[in-house]
């Protein structure tokens, strides 16, 4: 649909007029829908961002999935299963949104397992203790919520609608994580130490989830002009720090940042910068778990091939049987 539409447009319509129409829709804060004309750069930026987001949900199943069989109680196991299933669902909402831009599901999966498209660097860190399940829910999903709530108003309709569904479900993720940590904090000294150790490992990677500082984020200005992004990376990071500090106090843990303090003048927290060299290394594929995550995803895809083929064959056979039955009953 999109390809023919684009060809049709380039032949018959005035590009400047189409662009003016597109820009006026954006200026009115209206949504762009899949069949509307859109600049190639807008389409490409959205595909890149939505695909990266979808891949993050799919890869994001792995770090926590590791703990399903080792959850300490049936209650925790059921919660963790539901959460990991949600991540799969979120990936599917987003892949659907991405497909409305004219890319196929197969193509997106291929680009993930070949490394052509990225996913959030946070999922390249290992989950070393059970406390990490709680920390991921609290801090990683908390950072994701900060990023995602403004995206409910993003200018591309299908993306915004997917984000609304996702945000509704993320709140459960964050609360279950925080509750898990609260439970551990009421336990033994060893359990409290486990929570603190986990928070120490995840704090900086969680801050990196908002992306590089605004000065080093080349796509931000254009994405904001197009209404794809609604806030800058640094704005969202600040919001996240300000939200997290009182939560840490209530929990009884500290963040591993000696520069973290309340700034009365700014009415916000001052805080240190994450190690951006480490960030770039992880993005480039040199994080602790990059190779493992992709290998696992590739294996799941390949191991599932026979299921996909069998379902296709079964569907064809059933369709044929129905056709024959109709033929004889005529």
């Amino acid at each position: 649909m999109t390809t023919t539409q684009r060809e049709h447009h380039s032949e018959s319509s005035n590009e400047a007029e189409l662009l003016a129409g597109f820009e006026s829709t954006i200026a009115h804060n209206d949504r762009i829908e899949p069949r509307d004309w859109m600049p190639e750069g807008y389409r490409k930026t959205l595909v890149r961002q939505i695909a990266q987001h979808a891949h993050s949900e799919i890869i994001g199943m792995q770090p926590e999935g590791n703990w399903i069989t080792r959850a300490p109680s049936l209650r925790r196991k059921a919660i963790l299963l539901a959460k990991v299933q949600d991540e799969a669902g979120h990936g599917l909402y987003l892949y659907s949104a991405c497909e409305t831009l004219g890319t196929s599901r197969g193509e997106l999966t291929e680009k993930l397992i070949s490394g052509a498209q990225k996913y959030s660097s946070i999922f390249n860190y290992p989950t070393l203790s059970y406390a990490d399940v709680g920390t991921i829910g609290w801090l990683v999903d908390g950072a994701a919520i900060c990023n995602q709530v403004p995206l409910c108003r993003t200018s591309f309709g299908p993306y915004g609608r997917a984000m609304i569904r996702i945000c509704k479900e993320e709140s459960f993720h964050q609360r279950q994580g925080y509750e898990l940590l609260m439970t551990m904090m009421r336990g033994t000294d060893e359990q409290r130490a486990m929570v603190q150790e986990s928070v120490n490992r995840f704090w900086w990677p969680a801050l990196m989830m908002f992306g590089p500082p605004d000065a080093d984020s080349p796509n931000t200005a254009q994405s904001m002009a197009w209404g794809i992004k609604r806030n800058t990376n640094d704005d969202l990071r600040q919001r996240f720090v300000d939200m997290s500090v009182p939560q840490a106090e209530a929990l009884g843990v500290t963040f591993p940042d000696p520069e973290l303090r309340w700034n009365e003048e700014r009415q916000a927290h001052d805080f240190g910068q994450p190690d951006w060299d480490e960030f770039m290394q992880v993005v480039k594929g040199n994080g602790p778990c990059n190779a493992q995550r992709i290998a696992h995803r590739r294996q799941a895809h390949e191991d599932g091939a026979w299921v996909r083929e069998a379902a296709t064959a079964f569907a064809a056979k059933s369709a044929q049987a129905r056709a024959e039955q109709q033929e004889t009953s005529r």
């Binding site: 299933q85 949600d86 909402y93 659907s96 599901r105 197969g106 996909r308 059933s318």
Partner: protein, 98 residues
């Protein structure tokens, strides 16, 4: 409507009735090998938290849509018929139940 290679399962659009008395509403899409599988997948993807009491699925390529190019001629006929709206008629304020 889709340009997916034939190896890929076809795309379905999913409609969910939130509760009795409401219309089915479009919630998104998914891939499935056939209609039955599309309903099962729709349940798992779109109704994990009691979001629905009924699901419709339809293959995306079976949907006929108005094209955005025809937007003006398509919807123009309703634009200039203000007399179809109740606010077109001025009735004195003291007339009750109008």
């Amino acid at each position: 409507m889709t340009s997916a290679p034939s190896a890929e399962w076809p795309l379905y659009e999913v409609f969910v009735r939130g509760k009795r008395g409401l219309n089915h509403v479009h919630v998104g899409s998914l891939h499935a090998a056939d209609d039955d599988m599309a309903v099962r997948h729709a349940r798992d993807v779109y109704t994990r938290r009691n979001e629905g009491v009924s699901i419709w699925v339809v293959r995306s390529d079976a949907i006929t849509a108005s094209s955005p190019d025809e937007k003006d001629p398509m919807f123009a006929p309703s634009g200039d018929k203000v007399y179809r709206h109740p606010t077109f008629y001025s009735i004195p304020d003291d007339v009750p139940h109008m």
